[in-house]
């Protein structure tokens, strides 16, 4: 059945198609783009039959996919994970479609507060900055036109691509107008301003969850109160009430999902690393739809099973003869170049340890106590305070630096890559501290370079590859 409501907004339509492409192209056993394109009509037939997409639109979307990403995702080391992610994300897009079709409130929420609270209020939220990232990574045109429109309006080059991508998207009709916006104060000014701008332009309430500068009990109590106040206001504005049983249902899902998430993180400490790095952006995507459905658990469990199987069999996905270079990504994955970790694995044996955009320490974050609504909200608040990027961005640099020294030591990293988003000021301000400390305490060199997380025109893929080639050759 087609998600017709999503077709009104091209970003959502493309997201929906992306799910079906992921699930479809990787489930036929075609392991190369050549095989894929030889059978493309079969793929189109399947997708149109099952999901009702317009064939011409589907073709235009496929023509726009980064060929290197397609090549990477088709590889056996990724394929079934991509299928499961596609299905999990499809569950979300279908729920979103039904939500919009039923005229329910349009809510944009920053994903560092995972969405169980929204689901429990019968709301399916949108995360427009993540959408921006996904579209940048999958599609050649990414969100460049939207970023250019933002630049034309006067938004500086120094505004983050995660913000510049979506900031005009609603005005351009690519996304629906918001009824409510919800944002925490972290990670940065630019991300905040995306919501401030949208609230002003569309005259809708912006609910702020203030991110305190600390992670202690006092901060947790304060932040929890912020969330409770947010719930009260959403109930008042929308008439949608918090349902404790629904909340428990979704929190239970997310707890189980995270059990596998943490376990995979632990398995990455094995040598050789059993977990391919290109899937990390899908992992972050699974956090964005945290607790949504059993399909998200299936994705995480599937990931875990494959990674564990490699460990148990002593297998590696690295090319034969490639010596592993265990690589700490001390900033994070690059949205406009999702396939980069795969390229690094193939070229240099560089395996992806952890990054600031996906690392969630299980021993700190733990699981949410589902005893009652109080324990659940408290637990979700704690998780949010320690969510990737939120935790490292909202406080003193020490947190990020200390976390990554610990990771480097625990995972026995060999090198670090700080591919910093040019607009990420809170990150750039500590890039030198971090690289100095990693060298001093862990004896690992860092390669630091600048890119635009969503815009490949700033640092081209070719340039990135050339720089990384030079770095990895220099340490060989």
């Amino acid at each position: 059945m087609a998600n017709r409501e999503l077709e009104k907004y091209e970003f959502l339509q493309r997201l929906d198609v992306t799910c079906d492409l992921f699930a479809g192209m990787c489930s036929h056993g075609w392991f190369t783009p050549k095989e894929l394109f030889a059978n493309i009509d079969t793929l189109f037939d399947d997708i149109v039959k099952e999901h009702g997409h317009d064939r011409e639109y589907l073709k235009s979307v496929v023509d726009n996919v980064h060929p290197e990403l397609a090549e990477a995702l088709l590889k056996p080391k990724h394929d079934m994970d991509v299928v499961r992610f596609g299905k999990a994300l499809k569950g979300y897009t279908t729920a979103l479609n039904d939500h919009l079709a039923a005229g329910k409130p349009v809510v944009y929420s920053f994903p560092t507060l995972t969405s169980e609270i929204w689901y429990a209020m019968d709301i399916v939220p949108l995360h427009f900055e993540l959408l921006s990232g996904l579209l940048s990574g999958v599609y050649i045109t990414g969100v460049e036109a939207e970023a250019d429109a933002a630049a034309k309006e006067g938004f500086g080059d120094h505004i983050c691509g995660f913000t510049k991508g979506p900031i005009k998207s609603i005005e351009m009709g690519l996304l629906p107008k918001p009824d409510i916006l919800c944002k925490n104060g972290s990670p940065c000014d630019a991300s905040n301003l995306n919501y401030v701008y949208a609230a002003d332009l569309h005259n809708c309430p912006l609910l702020v969850l203030d991110s305190p500068y600390y992670s202690d009990d006092r901060a947790l109590e304060y932040y929890t109160e912020n969330i409770k106040e947010m719930i009260v206001r959403v109930e008042k504005i929308t008439g949608h009430k918090m349902d404790e049983d629904r909340l428990r249902h979704h929190v239970d899902i997310s707890n189980r999902q995270l059990k596998y998430y943490y376990a995979i993180q632990d398995l990455r400490k094995e040598k050789p690393c059993p977990d391919p790095g290109t899937l990390r952006f899908l992992d972050f995507g699974s956090l964005a739809i945290c607790g949504h459905s059993e399909k998200v658990v299936d994705y995480c469990k599937g990931r875990y099973d494959r990674v564990k199987a490699r460990v148990d069999k002593g297998e590696t996905f690295l090319p034969a003869g490639k010596k592993e270079i265990r690589t700490l990504w001390s900033w994070g994955w690059i949205a406009n170049m999702f396939y980069l970790p795969d390229w690094l694995e193939e070229q240099f044996g560089s395996t992806y340890m952890e990054c600031q955009l996906s690392y969630m320490p299980g021993d700190v974050v733990g699981y949410v106590d589902t005893t009652n609504i109080e324990t659940m909200i408290n637990g979700l608040a704690w998780r949010s305070l320690n969510f990737c990027m939120h935790k490292t961005a909202m406080s003193y640099s020490d947190i990020w630096v200390n976390d990554f020294v610990s990771i480097a030591q625990a995972y026995k990293a060999d090198v670090a890559l700080f591919g910093g988003n040019r607009a990420c000021k809170h990150a750039w301000s500590l890039s030198k501290i971090l690289s100095d400390v990693l060298l001093e305490k862990c004896d690992i060199p860092s390669f630091i370079w600048e890119h635009d997380v969503c815009d490949k025109r700033y640092t081209s893929h070719k340039a990135t590859k050339a720089m990384l080639t030079e770095f990895f050759n220099s340490i060989a």
Partner: protein, 393 residues
């Protein structure tokens, strides 16, 4: 005849002249005097740090604590700061760190930070680890002023810093000293608003450059002494002829300005900056502390929390738009010039929001992107001149 043996009579400066030419930072005679008398000097980084909690601490004998605003006027390069903070952070944050590394703040006994914006808050760690001030604290300022819970958090943060002074130096402000300080600061605000009235009336008595120099003097002196000087300066201004020969009246908005060079560039084109919404200007002095309450710390925190907000606050957009419109109307401006320091996300986007609304109301606006150091003069001047022509002035 040799002039060497001629005794030159030194004419004491008037209060106005003194305020207009007061040296900054360590060369400031008031700071030097303060230190010589055993006082301590603490810099604060943004207007969400309540100065009164610092100034109200009274040391033994004559020793007192003087809050001064951290500024970097005169900084021309940031080579060392760039290594640490990186070039993609705003030049104000890099300039203040550079000044610190250059020893320009050697007279400071400490700093009080706030989690104001990405750039400034991240320079905290460099001050801590490279410059090792004797006292360094952070106030975690909420991103919204929306609820009582947010205010109570801010109040607790402010009080914690106040108590830290006590723990460190064994001296704590008390109710009496706080109340006295509140009165001094409220008087300061009244006088500054009077100064604004002299700027923005039909016959302005001073230029924007002069007003900023006076404000900068106030950032670097004990407020009670500044109040006396300002009272006298205001009388001088009232007595002088109005400023004439300008082409247009403008309101200046955007990133904090603590270097008159930019205002000089603007006024060099014939514009007269008659008012502003800067946090180093009008926003700094808007709003009084309640003198009737029995809880002065709460009253002080309330004033700082509830004042006209900075765009780093995620709420208050409507109020900020209304504020700039009100001031533009009160000062009968011909146009509004927005400026922001490169890499300042907050003012970049806030300027877009405010200017869009003003333009809708028929108020012409110009937006300038600039560095903190007053370079690029030609480009800025050309842009302002073009704006003047656009508004037919």
């Amino acid at each position: 005849m040799s002039t060497q043996n001629v005794q030159q009579e030194v004419t004491p400066k008037s209060a106005l002249e003194e305020l207009l030419t007061l040296p900054r930072r360590g060369e400031n005679p008031y700071i030097q005097d303060w230190k010589a008398n055993g006082g301590k000097v603490f810099a604060y980084v943004c207007s969400y740090v309540p100065e009164e909690i610092i100034y109200a601490v009274k040391g033994v004998a004559k020793s007192r604590y003087l809050p001064v605003r951290l500024g970097a006027t005169g900084c021309t390069k940031t080579e060392d700061a760039d290594i640490d903070l990186s070039r993609c952070l705003c030049s104000f944050a890099r300039s203040t760190l550079q000044m610190g590394l250059d020893g320009e703040y050697s007279y400071l006994d400490g700093l009080v930070y706030s989690s104001s914006c990405e750039q400034m808050r991240r320079s905290f760690e460099y001050w801590r680890d490279k410059l090792h001030p004797d006292f360094l604290e952070m106030i975690s300022v909420p991103r919204t002023t929306d609820t009582q819970a947010h205010f109570e958090w801010y109040l607790e943060e402010v009080n914690n810093v106040r108590l830290k002074f006590g723990q460190k130096y064994g001296l704590l402000s008390n109710k009496a000293s706080l109340n006295e300080t509140i009165k001094i600061y409220n008087r300061f605000r009244e006088l500054m608003l009077e100064l604004y009235a002299l700027r923005s009336g039909d016959a302005p008595k001073l230029t924007g450059t002069e007003a900023l120099n006076i404000a900068l003097a106030g950032f670097n002196m004990p407020k009670d002494i500044f109040n006396e000087k300002l009272e006298a300066a205001i009388e001088e201004l009232k007595a002088r002829p109005a400023v004439t020969g300008y082409r247009a009246r403008v309101l200046l908005a955007g990133s904090p300005i603590d270097d008159p060079a930019l205002v000089e560039i603007i006024e060099g084109t014939g514009a007269l900056v008659v008012t502003d919404t800067l946090c180093t200007g009008r926003k700094y002095v808007e709003g009084m502390v309640d003198e009737t309450t029995d809880d002065p710390v709460r009253a002080i925190a309330k004033r700082y929390f509830s004042k006209e907000t900075c765009p780093r606050m995620m709420d208050g957009t409507d109020a900020r738009v209304a504020y700039v419109k009100r001031l533009a109307k009160e000062a009968n401006v011909d146009g509004v010039i927005f400026q922001y320091i490169t890499f300042c996300d907050n003012h970049n986007i806030e300027n877009i929001i405010e200017s869009r609304s003003l333009e809708k109301d028929g108020v012409p606006t110009l937006t300038l992107e600039r560095e903190y150091q007053p370079g690029d003069v030609g480009r800025l001047r050309t842009r302002v001149q073009a704006f003047m022509e656009r508004i037919n002035k």
